[in-house]
């Protein structure tokens, strides 16, 4: 169980910069996720931590120990692979025992430790099975048991859910979290699924094109994104372009000729009049209201499409020529609307995020 420190971690594959100057400290016992779109460098970061790739520059420390160029077998980091990487010629038991044998653990203690690990993942009694005879979910748990039986300092998981079907994912997710808390093991979890990351993690690092965009708790990431990328990647925000103008003495956001958005004064305090900005607006902040409602930030729009997705209704509405994605959490006001009909909607002013345009 130890802290993991990445300092200025950079990895280049020829011309491709897979990871750029990644600086983060992962705390002891923390469940830490690396989140980002495909190709952003998550796997590369994890593989450097595991020791399968050496960084081009920068350092990796486990606790005080510098492991940057240490061989993977000397790091004591358990890893669960995306494809599970179970040894097909070995049984479940032998797979789990592999790490113990490789570490020359005393023979007599092996069966006991393997059984305990298998119990932990609810696979007690399946030890003699061939791994090829297991279901996807069971294989995943064997991979997990194999990684934790060696009592690693850190647990690394590379999209361990991506080979499971949706329902199994939900279950397994909770199990992994419980197991992690029980063992108190520092865990680094790679995923491109924001829901998974928000759900599981103590903290998240959002990566894009090799660069770390933001590190924070799930709530930080969701409610207080520090840039346009994080805002749009996490939570599927509407990203609109606008300008800061004055309505009387109040700074407002001008989204089109006639469309002005009022926001709390401190949101715009750091921006000056006339500045072009990006505005991030979460769909759930755009709520349909009964026709004829009046108030701040109430607009008339034209329904473009409505789609039913279980608990909520997602819709697209055009306000003064600007398309906006909205989400009706109550599933009432948008219900039954068809494309082309007018819709009245209200944008709640809290949690609108504004970023300088230059930042891009």
């Amino acid at each position: 169980m130890s802290r993991v420190t990445l300092s200025n971690l950079t990895k280049k594959f020829g011309e491709v910069v897979a990871v750029q100057d990644f600086d983060v400290e992962i705390r002891q016992g923390e469940f830490f996720s690396l989140l980002g779109p495909s190709g952003c460098g998550k796997t590369t970061t994890l593989r450097m931590i595991a020791g399968f790739e050496f960084p081009t520059s920068g350092h990796i420390r486990f606790g005080e120990r510098d492991v940057t160029y240490l061989k993977p077998n000397r790091r004591n980091a358990g890893m669960v692979f995306q494809n599970f990487a179970l040894f097909p010629h070995l049984t479940v038991f032998e797979n789990v025992a592999f790490g113990l044998k490789a570490r020359r653990v005393e023979k007599a203690t092996i069966p006991d430790r393997v059984s305990k690990a298998l119990e932990l993942v609810d696979l007690g009694g399946l030890g003699s099975r061939q791994v090829t005879q297991l279901s996807g979910g069971q294989q995943q748990r064997v991979a997990l048991a194999r990684a934790i039986v060696i009592e690693p300092e850190i647990l690394l998981l590379d999209e361990p859910m991506s080979n499971l079907d949706a329902k199994l994912r939900e279950e397994t997710r909770q199990e992994i979290r419980k197991l992690q808390q029980r063992l108190g093991i520092t865990t680094i979890y790679v995923t491109h699924d924001q829901e998974e990351a928000l759900n599981l993690s103590d903290r998240i690092a959002v990566l894009n094109q090799g660069e770390c965009q933001q590190v924070g708790t799930p709530e930080d990431i969701y409610r207080r994104p520090t840039n346009k990328f994080v805002a749009s990647f996490v939570g599927n925000s509407n990203i609109l372009s606008g300008r800061v103008t004055m309505a009387g003495t109040e700074k407002v956001l001008q989204l089109s000729e006639t469309w002005q958005l009022h926001v709390p004064p401190n949101t715009l305090s750091s921006f000056s009049k006339g500045e072009n900005v990006w505005i991030s607006l979460r769909p759930e902040l755009v709520q349909p209201v009964p026709d004829g409602t009046s108030g701040v930030n109430v607009f008339q729009g034209e329904t473009q499409s409505v789609s039913f997705s279980g608990a909520v209704l997602d819709y697209v509405v055009a306000v003064d020529g600007v398309s906006l994605r909205g989400r009706d959490l109550l599933g009432q006001d948008a219900f039954g609307r068809t494309a082309g009909t007018p819709m009245t909607l209200q944008v709640s002013p809290d949690q609108i995020h504004v970023f300088a345009e230059a930042e891009d």
Binding site: N83, F84, A85, P88, A102, I150
Partner: protein, 577 residues
């Protein structure tokens, strides 16, 4: 102060570099040394010898090659090319229709027939030649049988010279056409033909405009392969050529006549043609694959149900099997013949177990077998170690000069056996650094070396293929669980790649057991291998003994084929997901 800092940084940079790459160097160095010393060096030595006259650069040997007043070399070149072209044509005529039948129709005994159909490819060329000699030669069983039946004055036919070479070539090389075409027919999407039909094309039209164009890559590949194999063929010409000149054999004869320099020039010409064809072949196989990708209806062979065609197919199958198995049976039969008793009779008159018993009783009779087993074992063991190391490097590690290593490992495949042997002669008939200052020619070690070089591409390729299938994350998983490289290699990689690697090595082993061309050029009395002994026994008309040795080779091959199919092949043991 600052300079101290820089050196310190440089040192860590160097150390890091070593830590990252030490494994690669550790493996790459021996692999590269072996390739350079035993593959590249002899071939370069051949080339440079061919370009030297009295210690100076000269095209003298080549002008003798192309001398119209002494046209032996040119005749041989022309002979090789024309025989190879004919071999290609006839092999195609046998192999393609056969593949078409097997791909499109179901008939009784098909599995058995298709297994037999590839039999010739695993027969040692020398044994095949021997069988054809016993069967169709001037005093062969069949011509004599017909003569006796019809009461003729002389045998009605007998294969000899060019026709004999062609028969033997087609017998063993039609398999390439068969396999290439079979793969093609199996992957041909029937909906293509249906589409053509639907567009109004007649059957013949769609064959010409759809099937044939799509088939050209397969046919081209097979043609090139057969042409190369035929150019390199040695055993059939050795027995049957007579006064007809063929380049691979001419090299051997020139060398026997003591004109090593001309033999070297001839070798370079032969090797040049082969390498040219290899390059063409590679170009071709890169462009291959029109087929595949399509989903939808799979081609299912039509059963032949009705009486007459079914009967016809059955008969064809039987004829085919008889043709293919007859040579093996003949050799087995002759192996029981008492030496010196079969002279003018159609079938041998007297049979005995003596030829086999002697193997156990007379150490001099057993010696060639022991020699061959010893040398083939050594060569194959070396092939295994080299093949695994080289394949691992090429697949799993990045380093400069990858292409060079890859090309060098495939070089012995392109170079005819005669040329390889000549290369070893001109290189190792004097002390060399890479042999620790020893002269290898005339010693025991030259033959294992020759076998090693000859089979190097085969073992490398089969190892490469199994390693390529090996999922890299398995090795990484083992490493992250605390296994060092060696532990991971032994417990994960080796067990998983072993079946593929072993079946390649077993094949290399039996090929080395029966290897003829390099043996006859390089052997001495004390390491004479089975193939050379077969020739010696034939020379003194001990037909039975020669056949018994051949049966030994056939049996070994049989064992290897069965072991490979039963225990090593089939199941691919890879990732469960």
């Amino acid at each position: 102060m600052s300079s101290e800092l820089t050196t310190g940084r440089q040192m860590t940079a160097e150390r890091t570099f070593w830590r990252k790459n030490s494994g690669v160097f550790l493996l790459l160095t021996p692999v590269l040394v072996i390739l350079l010393a035993y593959v590249l060096y002899p071939n370069l030595q051949t080339l440079s010898t061919s370009l030297q006259l009295d210690g100076r650069f000269s095209f003298g040997h080549y002008s003798r090659f192309f001398d119209l007043n002494q046209p032996a070399s040119l005749e041989a070149l022309w002979g090789s090319i024309s025989i190879s072209l004919l071999t290609v044509v006839f092999s195609a005529f046998v192999g393609v229709p056969l593949a078409w039948l097997f791909a499109n129709f179901n008939f009784p005994g098909k599995t058995f027939f298709s297994a037999v159909a590839v039999l010739p490819i695993v027969m040692p060329p020398l044994v095949g030649v021997l069988a054809f000699l016993f069967l169709f030669g001037e005093s062969g069983i069949l011509p004599r049988a017909i003569q006796a039946m019809l009461g003729l004055q002389s045998v009605p036919f007998a294969i000899s010279g060019v026709s004999a070479i062609l028969v033997v070539h087609v017998y063993s090389m039609y398999v390439y056409f068969y396999l290439f075409s079979l793969a093609f027919f199996r992957s041909l999407d029937p909906s293509l033909l249906e589409a053509a039909n639907n567009l109004g094309a007649s059957r013949w039209f769609s064959v010409r405009k759809v099937v044939l164009p799509m088939m050209t890559p397969a046919l081209g590949g097979a043609s090139l392969l057969v042409f190369m194999t035929s150019m390199a063929s040695f055993s059939a010409p050795f027995f049957f050529a007579g006064s007809f000149r063929i380049l691979s054999l001419e090299i051997y004869n020139t060398k026997l006549n003591g004109d090593l320099n001309l033999a070297v020039a001839q070798s370079v010409v032969l090797a040049g043609i082969s390498v040219l064809f290899l390059i063409l072949l590679r170009k071709y196989s890169e462009r291959r694959r029109y087929v595949g990708g399509g989903k939808g209806v799979r081609r299912t062979p039509r059963p032949i149900a009705s009486g007459a065609p079914r009967l016809l197919m059955g008969m064809l199958g039987v004829v085919l099997v008889v043709m293919l198995v007859l040579p093996h049976l003949t050799v087995i039969l002759i192996s029981f013949v008492k030496n010196g008793t079969w002279t003018w009779q159609t079938l041998p008159p007297a049979y005995t177990l003596e030829n086999y018993l002697q193997l156990f009783q007379d150490p001099r009779v057993a010696e060639p077998i022991l020699n061959s087993v010893k040398m083939a074992t050594l060569a194959t063991a070396a092939n295994l170690v080299f093949g695994v190391a080289a394949a691992y490097l090429l697949i799993r590690r990045q380093f400069l000069g990858k292409k060079i290593v890859e090309t060098l490992t495939m070089l012995p495949w392109a170079i005819p056996g005669t040329v390889l042997a000549i290369g070893l002669i001109v290189t190792f008939n004097q002390p060399r650094l890479v042999t620790a200052g020893q002269i290898l020619v005339g010693t025991f070690w030259i033959l294992p070396l020759a076998y090693f070089v000859r089979n190097l591409p085969l073992v490398f390729r089969s190892t490469y293929a199994s390693l390529e299938q090996f999922e890299p994350s398995l090795e990484e998983a083992a490493r992250s669980l605390g296994a060092d490289w060696w532990f991971a290699f032994r417990h994960v990689m080796l067990p998983l790649i072993a079946p593929g690697v072993l079946s390649g090595a077993l094949l290399a082993f039996v090929l080395a057991l029966g290897e003829f061309v390099s043996s006859i050029l390089l052997y001495n009395y004390f390491n004479r291998p089975v193939s050379v002994e077969i020739i010696s026994q034939l020379r003194i008309f001990n037909l039975g003994s020669a056949a018994a040795y051949s049966v030994f080779l056939i049996v070994m091959i049989g064992i290897v084929v069965v072991v490979s199919n039963r225990f090593l092949g089939g199941r691919s043991r890879q990732l469960p997901v």
